[in-house]
């Protein structure tokens, strides 16, 4: 399988990259990690006329805390997130997520920015970032702007990014003491997309869940939050009944499609089960659990 021809650009500055995007519009496609794009090109299902390789842009690969945020450069590789002690210690939901994306070789190339911008509902970062309430920083010909993650995913493979914009940074609010997060993914085998996966980030006030955000993977055409599930767990102590109610709310809210991974009914029920388990794990971590 051999891709069709294209014109290749490798800008060395963000301004240059954005200008190229502005100039070529729809015909151009950004090449980041390329781990979804290049296979699609090999099957000639994607045939962009122009590829703008942003891997040469400076200062887009970093993971650092600043103020009350974790800042992740758009070109940061999944393996860097996976291997970051900072992420492992303070952002367990993100650490969980990075570990289960594709496989280790893919994670060495794949970028967190690409994972989000691709907006495949089966990708893992969208749910995690929805749960974190992250902010997406983008840069276009008209300058930089921030997009709230809740406004970012607008359709199947569609984001709020304008045609001339590049994702430059993800800002994750640093969780406070007493918070916990978890990402739980059920997949048929390593490297597969989730049958269903659930991202949970919550805050405990004593024994009570005071706030929570829940994102779902691959059970709807657009990456989604399970708002009803969030509401049902907030104010509870995470009892079995409360977990069940949250699980049921997530199952009711999701909109999966049948495929080789299973029926709609299975995916809904799996979402219920996984939501329960992910919340329980997040609560456990909020209480200081290490698992």
């Amino acid at each position: 399988m051999i891709p069709g021809s294209f014109e290749y650009h490798s800008p060395t500055s963000l301004e240059e990259a954005v200008a190229l995007l502005g100039q070529h519009g729809d015909e151009a496609k950004i090449l980041s990690g390329g781990q979804s794009l290049i296979p699609a090109m090999r099957f000639r299902l994607a045939q962009p006329g122009i590829l703008i390789d942003i891997n040469g842009l400076p200062n887009l690969e970093y993971i650092r805390e600043k103020g009350k945020h974790l800042l992740i450069g758009g070109l940061t590789r999944e393996s860097a997130i996976e291997g970051s002690p900072l992420v492992q210690e303070r952002y367990p939901l993100l650490a969980d997520t990075a570990r289960v994306i594709a496989d280790p070789l893919v994670r060495n190339m794949a970028t967190v920015g690409g994972n989000l911008v691709h907006a495949d509902p089966a990708n893992d970062h969208p749910a995690a970032m929805l749960a974190y309430g992250a902010e997406i920083m983008v840069h276009g010909t008209n300058g930089a702007r921030a997009i709230a993650i809740d406004e970012f995913f607008i359709g199947l493979f569609e984001t709020a990014l304008a045609a001339d914009e590049i994702l430059t940074e993800i800002r994750i609010p640093t969780p406070s003491t007493g918070s916990g997060g978890a990402y739980l993914k059920i997949e048929r085998k390593v490297g597969d997309y989730a049958i269903s996966a659930v991202a949970v980030q919550l805050q405990m006030d004593g024994d009570t869940v005071s706030s929570a955000r829940i994102g779902l993977t691959n059970v709807s055409p657009t990456p989604m939050r399970a708002v009803e599930a969030e509401q049902s767990i907030i104010g509870s102590v995470g009892s079995a009944d409360a977990l069940e109610a949250a699980g049921k709310a997530a199952a009711a809210a999701c909109d999966p499609s049948a495929d080789l991974r299973g029926s709609v009914e299975y995916k809904r029920d799996l979402t219920r089960v996984v939501t329960k388990r992910a919340i329980a794990k997040a609560i456990d971590r909020a209480k200081g659990g290490q698992t």
Binding site: I2, I38, P39, G83, L105, V106, V190
Partner: protein, 164 residues
């Protein structure tokens, strides 16, 4: 269609090439450089037979354009033995970590990075570490043992050599 001159370091030597923008790195390595130890086993970035190190990180060279490797360094299986077999190569031989040999170069390259990151991996860490590489012959158990052998050999270079 666009053509590009690229210069990269392959197995310690600088090489240059004229490539079409769409040429996959694996084809550049195999066809232009005649380094045929790197293989092609799929078209969906699933099997890992094409694994090489790009600036020290194990990647699938069929999911990267050759032009992207400009100014970078590539290591292929042909560079692993350096004045004698690498402990990983010894391990694969010693522990019967290969049968048809087609996935083996990719496995070894993945394992090389795995051990660089984590010199004393557990069995589970090894299994996860090579989970981007498919093997159809061995059932993986002996590959895991081969990597354990190498880890041990690298950590304890003075330990008694196993005859080869």
């Amino acid at each position: 269609m666009s053509h590009h001159s690229i210069t990269l370091n392959v197995n310690g030597e600088e090489v240059t090439g004229e490539v079409e923008s769409r040429m996959l790195l694996v084809h550049f390595i195999r066809e232009n450089l005649d380094l045929t130890g790197t293989h092609i086993g799929c078209d969906t970035t699933s099997c890992g037979a094409c694994t090489v190190l790009l600036n020290g990180r194990a990647i699938k060279s069929c999911t990267l354009f050759a032009v992207q490797a400009n100014d970078k360094s590539i290591e292929t299986i042909e560079s692993v033995a350096n004045g004698g077999l690498h402990p990983l190569q010894e391990g694969f031989w010693e522990k019967h970590g290969l049968q048809c040999g087609f996935c083996t170069p990719g496995m070894i390259m993945s394992a090389k990075q795995l051990l660089a990151d984590n010199p004393n991996p557990t069995e589970e860490e090894i299994r996860w570490g090579i989970s981007g590489n498919l093997c159809r012959c061995t059932g993986y158990t002996k590959i895991v043992e081969a990597i354990e052998y190498a880890a041990d050999k690298i950590s304890n270079p003075t330990s008694e050599e196993v005859s080869s």
